[in-house]
């Protein structure tokens, strides 16, 4: 274990799927950097999760809810017209590229995104721990809606912390949370986005630590959250393995997913990390462009390691270690950090991380809507924009899976505004 945080990148471990270590580290990244008030609870949570994970009864309950409540497995869909479009794009550049593009349809889950996978797991855990009150942070509101949903399902009171800016740009989700019985607290500190919501959720947790369970929405935060959220989301990648074997008789060649905190991405990637032939791409929010100071949310491609919200990871920060707000058109990617396992996968070189701008994401959003009849959320629109660049460079028999991790209904108001259209 490096002690000064400046160790050289780890290279070539025997397995990429063994982390974290017993202290919660993925190489340099991760850990448990929280206030003392929370430490006893974090340690309890670690024990409770370890017990639940190896308990067949817990796994059976989780699996049953995934099937009958969330609607899993989600389909693996061959995006035929997009595939043709990208082949033509390659042909018009005088090449013969264009991968066979599949969408993992996690936008079809109950509540409209992959977030429900994690929330079902954590609400079951909260019940096992006999916690009587649930809190959560949310950016785009997809996690907030998923939390409010499982809280309604189990009759637990629920408070959601959401940046005031996000409350404004994600109104439909705010209303859904309220309908589901959640209290939505608009956080005005900072720029009023996901980072500020997470600060406020942590403050609430410190204050109400004895009865409250905090459902963190992404694969970040203090150990054991990054590993636990990854485990609950890994259902995505496990299904893709089986579904692709059934559809094509072999594993995919290329995986692509968008990254804010990175939970949908790690869920898709993790079951494939040791399949060295599978190329993996994570797509960060490039906002106005990586060359625009504080104008993007690409923590890995445009930030450096630091410590925030309980873990060491790549962060957007200035030279003094003050955290930047960043910017993205997508509220769900508008976060200055990233899950620690991604930071480690970046430094080991196992996963390639790139950034896509607001403008490119908006174009991909429209393309997908017209070609496939699927309105994607702005978050996976980033992944899609990268697919549009990547696929024409790949051979036509390359099997590419993109995680369609959320649907775009929530985004239509802000997209209309960006496109200058009247609703």
């Amino acid at each position: 274990m490096a002690t000064d945080g400046r160790a050289a990148p780890v290279s070539g471990p025997n397995s990429y799927r063994m982390g974290p270590d017993e202290r919660g580290y993925f190489g340099l990244f991760g850990g448990r950097f929280v206030a003392e008030t929370l430490m006893p609870l974090i340690l309890d949570l670690e024990q409770a999760y370890a017990a639940a994970r190896s308990d067949p009864e817990f796994q059976a309950e989780l699996s049953s809810l995934n099937t009958h409540y969330a609607g899993r497995p989600s389909p693996l869909y061959f995006a035929e017209r997009l595939t043709e479009h990208l082949q033509q794009a390659s042909a018009s550049a005088g090449k013969r590229g264009g991968a066979k593009v599949y969408f993992k349809r996690d936008e079809l889950n109950h509540t409209g995104s992959h977030k429900i996978n994690n929330c079902i797991g954590q609400i079951l855990l909260a019940r096992r721990m006999r916690k009587t009150r649930i809190i959560a942070e949310t950016g785009a509101g997809q996690h907030g809606v998923a939390v409010a949903t499982v809280c309604a399902r189990y009759g637990l009171p629920c408070e959601i912390f959401m940046g005031a800016t996000d409350v404004e740009r994600q109104k439909p989700n705010v209303f859904r949370m309220k309908l589901l019985g959640a209290k939505v607290n608009a956080v005005t500190a900072g720029a009023g986005t996901l980072k500020d919501a997470m600060n406020e959720a942590l403050r609430d947790w410190v204050t109400n630590v004895r009865d409250t369970y905090y459902i963190i929405g992404t694969a970040a935060g203090p150990h054991p959250y990054p590993a636990m959220v990854r485990d609950f989301q890994s259902v995505i990648g496990k299904e893709v393995r089986d579904q692709m074997m059934e559809a094509e008789g072999r594993l995919p060649d290329t995986l692509v997913a968008c990254i804010g905190g990175g939970s949908n991405a790690i869920g898709l990637f993790h079951p494939f990390l040791d399949d060295k032939a599978v190329k993996i791409h994570g797509v960060e929010a490039g906002g106005h462009g990586l060359d625009v100071p504080n104008g993007h949310c690409a923590s890995m491609t445009g930030g450096k390691p630091g410590v925030l919200h309980g873990n060491r990871t790549y962060l957007l920060q200035d030279d003094d270690g003050q955290i930047l707000e960043g910017h993205s058109i997508s509220a769900g990617l508008d976060y200055p950090g990233v899950g620690p396992e991604h930071s480690w996968l970046k430094d080991t070189g196992r996963v390639t991380y790139v950034a896509v701008t607001d403008k490119e994401a908006l174009e991909a959003f429209q393309l997908c809507t017209r070609l496939e009849g699927i309105i994607p959320a702005l978050e996976p629109s980033h992944a899609l924009a990268h697919v549009c660049k990547l696929a024409p460079t790949l051979p036509q028999n390359d099997l590419l899976v993109m995680n369609m991790c959320g649907r775009g209904d929530k985004d239509i108001f802000s997209v209309a505004e960006h496109l200058g259209m009247k609703m």
């Binding site: 000064d4 929280v34 430490m39 006893p40 403050r203 109400n208 410590v307 955290i323």
Partner: protein, 283 residues
Amino acid sequence: MTVETRIDRRFAALKRDGRAALVTFVTAGDPDYETCARLLAGLPAAGADVIELGMPFSDPMADGPTIQASSQRALAAGQTMRKTLALVAGFRKQDRDTPIVLMGYYNPIYVYPAEAFLDDAKAAGVDGLIVVDVPPEADDELCLPAAGRGLSFIRLATPTTDSRRLPAVLANSSGFVYYVSITGITGTATPDVEAVHAQVDRIRRATTLPVAVGFGVRTPEQAEAIARGADGVVVGSALVEAIRRTLGPDGSATGQTVPAVLELVKSLGSGLRTAPGRPNMAG
């Protein structure tokens, strides 16, 4: 630590006097560098026995609205970690006895980077560190390197630090133990004095270090009541609030700012001087 530090000397002297320490918190660079420097210079004479100086951070997760705002004011006025250390060095030229403890969050230290920060802090005349988000589980990162340089590493013990966990919290602690009197963030709830005293007694049975109590102590009366069963009382949000109240319409310091804070420190200090302290006899 075998080497006696300014913190050790100060608590030993107060124990001889039979009273508790007044530990005052302000944020470095709040509302601006110059005003903060004058404030620091005036604190010892006003009655501060130990000075806690906040290292401003953009995301102070353990702090309530009052101290969050002070961090924002300081950062907006251009405060950086290097300027915070310069404030301490400036103070140290005038005062060789009053301990200064830097309090804050890990990230600005981590990117400084940590080893260089510890060297520079020691050279500036810093005596101890409280880093809210570095638990004992990560002692090898900061606590042990700090102790190796003679900087005290002061830990927070909280109402959730049960007897199972307390030994881990105390293991590499030095200087004093900071008992957080509430489960919560700074400056919000009011602690229950009897419950606090019971917890202080519990900690005292496990350590010879002095125990100071903070988070939620606002008035001279509260400070006096807490001091009756502790080795020190930390007052932060109330002082920071006094700074805010005296700012001009444009948010900058006025002629009232420094005197108002020092006046409050005086009244807090006089309460402690009349209260018979109950120092840690184990120590």
